[in-house]
Chain length 356, copies 2
DNA sequence: CTGAAAGCGCTTACAG
DNA sequence: CTGAAAGCGCTTACAG
């Protein structure tokens, strides 16, 4: 059968069934006051014409699009891809679809996208924002009353539900492990300073030092830049070239971590041998490296699922109290975390010895 | 300013400006017959009320939602994430948004999602389908007349634009490289046999053998399963346990490749030493492994951009001739591709020697 | 150049 | 229980 050029409308169903359009609507929407005969006649016509209600028209009439606007900085970041996947599955099972937009880390674009999605009358937002302080974004958020779930962000003055990671616990465990092994020069490379994730990771870092009885962080090097491979690469290169380079590095996410590995590689240094390494975010390839890389793991998909659940609950009960759900992180100890080598040779010498 | 509970409508703008709603619409849509005074009065009211036309109402009236339905099997697969990113950027710059759905590799779900998206009146589809032969999916596709761009699939009887990868060239180069190094037992692990990608890769594999003067593929082991980490793992384990295991493995995508690496690891074998390895799809971590892993690279984002361009062109010119754009793949030679070792020791012995 | 009317495809009070 | 009417918020022929 050739595809019909036009989808049939409720009027055509009504004509075929010999009833009023309103009756077709009631029959399809399980209205209580519909006689069995009416229902049967309608259903027959619906089947014959393969009628499907126009979602657009329903949305306009009902004031709900069953659509969620989802903004991430970059869907090709595996973390966001995982979150979107989790959210999509949960939302889809409730009849909601996702309009996905990338902000590319640009707060202006972020604010613009919020506007576009609002104009498209989404029923809710799930937002992974770049910054917690950008005024354009905040204005765009305040400028609308649709429910919002924020991912790993806390924004003063904007009352929303949120899903957060407990970064500090995982990072504290990682830092403790390094301190116990004897590391004192630990370099921590984090992205943007303006986000909860960075603050929380640093908190864990400092907590571990305090618990270890070290109150001064003078020997600690903290690099703050962006959550990107290139920043990780440049920051690592820079600290390695110092007079007194770190014996251990913690990279605050997998992009930074890849940059760190690339920089170590370029310097002829091996992780877990010349420099101990912990990367925040688990990726199977990190476990397959030689030696396997220690990580602080978290469940991206779970964050997506929980965000969807919070949003669905909020849309059902707009006035219920706001909720923040905190998801755990876990330090996984692997071969890249070892005691510092005291007899450090130059990079070149080390390489020559290792690969004769 | 508190967010208004209701978005202003065109009527309210008209009332404030003291004109008819139709005039507001004309002024906003740059209709030629609008006096400068009218335009000015309307714009003033629009500014004051911060009016934004309801996209939903416009869509219903104009018969176009400026929305594209995008189905992938799994957005957390980096390949699809890259494709979606490329497409989203191109579409967004033309005022189109993406409704994203995951099929989870289930053809039934795929067909269902096509229906959902059709009901939502998307203006076009970009589809990364699981199978080229599933009858449910084919019926869902034939059952509608919205433009479709297929990704790396060719479906008989469904006339669509398409973006394809030239897998065969990259795989042929990889295979040639292995043959020239002396490999004769090459294992090729591909996913589903029902897709163009698999067929095309096998074609390249066979072409390289033929060019090398080997017409019989008796010594070649081809494993066909799914494009998943677990299949890669199991298939690799199986072939390694044969009496006459392969000296080289080509994994048809990065999921399979990760599984292969894990299996080699479990057997105490090293890639680029005990077994040569080529993985289809480049990932930076593969370059950072020791030794770096040879790959067949392709540009996922580019596929997304081109798909969006084809779809936009098709929506503008529904009757123009169908197009298929073929994107290149490139073999990148790295340390995991070496001559076969003739003095193969047992896995345990090899490991003992390597790590004294 | 402007306004009143019709209509996109639905749903839901309102009569009967 | 069913149908005719109104209306969601727009746009666009149609008059004037």
């Amino acid at each position: 059968m050739a595809p019909s050029d036009q989808q049939p409308t409720i009027k055509e169903v009504a004509r075929l069934a010999g009833v009023a359009p309103s009756s077709v609507s009631r029959a399809l929407n399980d209205h209580p006051d519909v006689s069995p005969e009416m229902r049967a006649r309608v259903m027959e016509a619906v089947e014959e014409l393969r009628y499907e209600p126009d979602f657009l028209a329903q949305s306009l009439r009902l004031g709900s699009t069953r659509t969620i606007g989802f903004i991430v900085s970059d869907i090709s970041n595996p973390l966001f891809a995982g979150i979107v996947k989790g959210a999509e599955q949960e939302l889809e099972s409730h009849g909601y679809s996702i309009l996905l937009m990338n902000s590319l880390g640009d707060p202006m674009l972020e604010a613009k996208h919020i506007g576009v999605l609002r104009q498209r009358r989404v029923d809710g937002f799930i937002l992974s924002l770049q910054s917690e302080t950008n005024s354009e974004t905040l204005r765009a958020l305040r400028n609308q009353s649709t429910p919002v779930v924020l991912l790993d962000r806390e924004i003063r003055g904007v009352a929303t539900d949120a899903v957060l990671f407990d970064h500090s616990t995982g990072v504290a465990e990682a830092t403790s492990a390094l301190l116990k092994l004897g590391h004192r020069k630990i370099n921590f490379i984090v992205g943007s300073a303006e986000t909860r994730g960075s603050r929380d990771r640093l908190k864990g870092f400092q907590r571990a030092y305090a618990a270890f009885g070290i109150s001064s962080l003078d020997d600690v090097v903290i690099e703050v830049g962006s959550y990107s491979r290139d920043f990780g690469f440049e920051a690592t290169k820079m600290v390695l070239e110092r007079d007194d380079p770190p014996t251990a590095i913690i990279a605050a996410n997998s992009q930074i971590g890849v940059g760190t590995l690339a920089a170590l590689n370029e310097h002829g240094l091996r992780h877990g041998e010349d420099v101990s390494l912990v990367i925040c975010d688990d990726v199977e390839l990190l476990r397959l490296m030689d030696p396997p890389v220690s990580v602080v793991a978290r469940d991206a998909e779970k964050m997506g699922t929980v965000a969807a659940e919070l949003l669905l609950a909020r849309m059902q009960e707009p006035e219920s109290p706001l909720r923040s759900v905190v998801l755990p992180t876990l330090y996984i100890h692997r071969g890249s975390t070892v005691a510092p080598r005291n007899d450090r040779r130059t990079a070149t010498a080390a390489r020559d010895i290792r690969r004769p």
